[in-house]
Amino acid sequence: MTVNEIVALDHGLKKEEYAKICELLKRKPNITELGIFSAMWNEHCSYKSSKLHLKTLPTKGKKVIQGPGENAGVIDIEDNDAIVFKIESHNHPSFIEPYQGAATGVGGIMRDIFTMGARPIANLNSIHFGSPQHKKTKNLLRGVVHGIGGYGNCMGVPTIAGQTCFDSSYNGNILVNAMTLGLVKKDKIFYSKAAGLNKPVIYVGSKTGRDGIHGASMASASFDEKIEEKKPTVQVGDPFTEKLLLEACLELMTGDSIIAIQDMGAAGLTSSSIEMASKGNLGIEINLNKVPCREAKMSPYEIMLSESQERMLIVLENGKEEHAKKIFDKWNLDFAVIGKTTNSKKIQLFFDNKIVADIPVSTLVENSPMYDRKWKKAKLPKKNKIKKSDLKNLKIIDVLKKVLANPNICSKEWIWQQYDHTVMGDTIQKPGGDAGVVRIHGTNKAVAASVDSSANYCWAHPITGGKQIVCESFRNLISVGAKPIAITNCLNFGSPEIQENMGEFVECVKGIGEASEYLKFPVVSGNVSFYNQTKNVGIKPTPAIGGVGLIKDYNKMISMDFKNVNNIVLAIGKTEGHLDQSVFARNILDEKNGPPPEINLFNEKNNGETLLKLIENNLVKSAHDVSLGGIITAVVKMCIKGNKGINLKKPKSLINEMEYFFAEDQGRYIIEINKIDLKKVIDILNKNAVHYDELGTINENELFINEKTKVTIDELRSFNTRWLKEYMSK
């Protein structure tokens, strides 16, 4: 096939980009080379629209061992232990083929983790779907949940937490973000930087097939009516092979055979070989006839662009080939020496004794395009004037029931019961709480992790929304008694070529950066997913933040279930009555405009750190952060989990009952304390200038509001648990 501009455009390259390739090579590329350029220069691999802005994020800290730029971020959790973690999107393939799309998303992120020498110990996910009424939603949800479970369960890695949202802005573009945490010894971390000349380049894992060709390019474009035709670009997962690959790689990693290792993810053999060469400032020579292929007569183009799963590329020390081969033979995996490192600083591919590609590595990486896209600033919307008379007509229990049954608030048990969340025997906080918690096997330590997004807040005001998610992640970790350490982000947006969308991206990143800087909660890894867009309609800006924290003594872990009758319940943090963008405003008053709740970073940090002090002093029996649905929703969820009730009283203040109970002001937590500790707790709160309200005392099983209204917790539970189960069984 002759290459010309039209062929280049078909590969998703822009006219100027094709011209630049010809200029860099000082000739026209051949078809294999064009394929390689299109794979490396697409948005998904090159971050060409986002790079400029991502650079502004804080990525360093005392506990950071490895920030962005490697397969995943690494943080120090003391005693020579480190946690490797990252979140990644698999949005486009999951919409086209939900089961395989989601499954391979989970498989891909786990590979990123064990590539660095870490055994995966926990999975999380953040998934967003269209309106429940949309005809595709139910099947997409079912397929995605089955896919996530199908892969993670088979791997034997517990799925410990997650988040599911519904909003019509995802009708044509669902989001599937998967996150994994792995455990590694600090002195046994593996990197992707090749080193040394004439070192053997090894291919291990599954054979290469024709699946997933141009997957990364597909993920770098908007959807149109021809979307069904893209099915062949979705990879097919084989978790069994990945489990073998995991065990084989970890076995090989116990020795000193490996110089560099890189998984074949997006853009397969192309990006893995080029990344290793680029980081090592070397060249790589590959004989494509040696690549194990699943199908006959695969062309160099297909071999280089296949996104077949469960494959790894390794640069070995000389003379270690036999030793390594034995391990992969034991696990029944393919093993082939396919090339070597060179000093040419080029990627050189041979096929049938002919050279089929000869490209300087720098042209693919350093010279890849970078755009300073035009973007529009978002204005802070005006506050709505909610009429007090509108609120007076509402009955609080009726509103509460509706809020508890809201798809974005209701119990997601139907989902997480399909994920094995207890395998590995160290899960001490299951899904359904503020954060999942797993013990560091054989120690007193545990790590907590949560994943959050707030698309409505980001849509209403991206900077505030960006800050809010980081703060929410911070709060979720603190609520279980963990000290927050670092975050990973998955930035899901529409097309960067549309100024409004680009503006949302830029400003969300700004917000994320400000909050993570202030809270000393750096970003150590992440992923950008643009073009979540069908024709001209993009999703709401949806950055997802995965946070990780450390609990030094897991006996001090806190859960959200109320523990004992007669204990006292406090709200920490001030309630101003902010209703705009709340579940109450959007779903009860049907008011979709207005600003999100303001973020006061000082209060976030101060309230959170003070709560950690209370926990450290064993003064807190249960805790939960206040988020969607406000104070009353948080309190009732604690009642439901603990099978307890509460005599709830609204403290005297200027705002009315609805505002007090349903407002989504930030920086707040609900805590349960023993009566005898009340004075001690109040002293600590006062000393640290933390506002608190006394909300009431715990009873057997009923909710009383201001001693008047009464409803049983069982009745409220049924509203909270019913919706999703009924929706999925219809």
Binding site: N153, P239, K243, N332, Q418, G425, M557
Partner: protein, 227 residues
């Protein structure tokens, strides 16, 4: 007491059961599926997981592993063998215990705590357990026990039902059946009661910080019965 846990390609609860057995005093060895000989053992455990990816049929390929002939011989000569979850599926495939395990009735993987009623205590697995009901944990996609009417009669006549899904008071009823199993069967013996296959994972219930502690009752009792 010596135990051995067989690791198949795709086993993923092998470490968990190793931890549990050691915690309660067993000297445990891990055995690779391609080995031919078993170490001297008082108990052999086939762990949970997805041996051979559950491809073809759950447990079917693992049941043909090299080591399995030794396990079958060991069981036939009266040795104690326990299969948990995928291990149960493997036992069914070898024919050491009767019946088959179908896909769960609602076609979904289920991971949650369940209660099981001990149906037969005249054996070394459950003999001397004071409780009538234990809280265990399940995590499976194919745990729907099925057998023919004739087989069921035989199973019942020989008192081969080990445990049934029930509520916390021991009531056995359809609404406490998580997967559609015949007669709420969660675990079953061979005729001689030296082989036990069960879907629940007692090894995930051995610590107050985990899902519960009733697994500790099971393992403590098991090692005492074997002494």
């Amino acid at each position: 007491m010596k135990s051995s846990v067989i690791t198949f390609p795709g086993s993923n609860c092998d470490r968990d059961i190793d931890v549990a057995l050691k915690k309660f005093g067993f000297k445990n060895k891990m055995v690779w599926h391609a080995d031919a000989e078993l170490p001297k053992s008082d108990l052999i455990v086939l762990p949970g997981g997805f041996s051979y990816g559950d491809y073809l049929r759950c447990g079917s390929m693992a049941s043909k592993s090299k080591i399995m002939q030794s396990v079958i011989n060991f069981a036939n000569s009266g040795g104690m063998v326990m299969g948990i979850c995928n291990g149960f599926q493997i036992l069914v495939e070898t024919g050491l215990v009767p019946g088959v395990l179908l896909r769960n009735k609602y076609l979904e993987f289920i991971c949650k705590n369940v209660f099981v009623k001990i149906n037969n205590k005249k054996n070394k697995f459950f003999g001397n357990v004071d409780n009538e009901v234990l809280e265990f944990h399940i995590a499976h996609n194919e745990g729907n026990f099925f057998c023919t009417k004739d087989q069921l009669k035989e199973i019942e006549d020989n008192e081969q039902i080990a445990i049934n899904y029930c509520d916390k008071n021991g009531k056995i009823a359809e609404q406490f059946n998580p997967n559609g199993s015949v007669k709420n069967i969660a675990g079953i013996f061979n005729r001689k009661k030296n082989v036990l296959g069960m879907m629940p994972h007692p090894e995930r219930m051995i610590d107050i910080s985990l899902s519960g502690e009733d697994g500790s009752i099971f393992f403590n009792n098991l090692i005492n019965n074997l002494k």
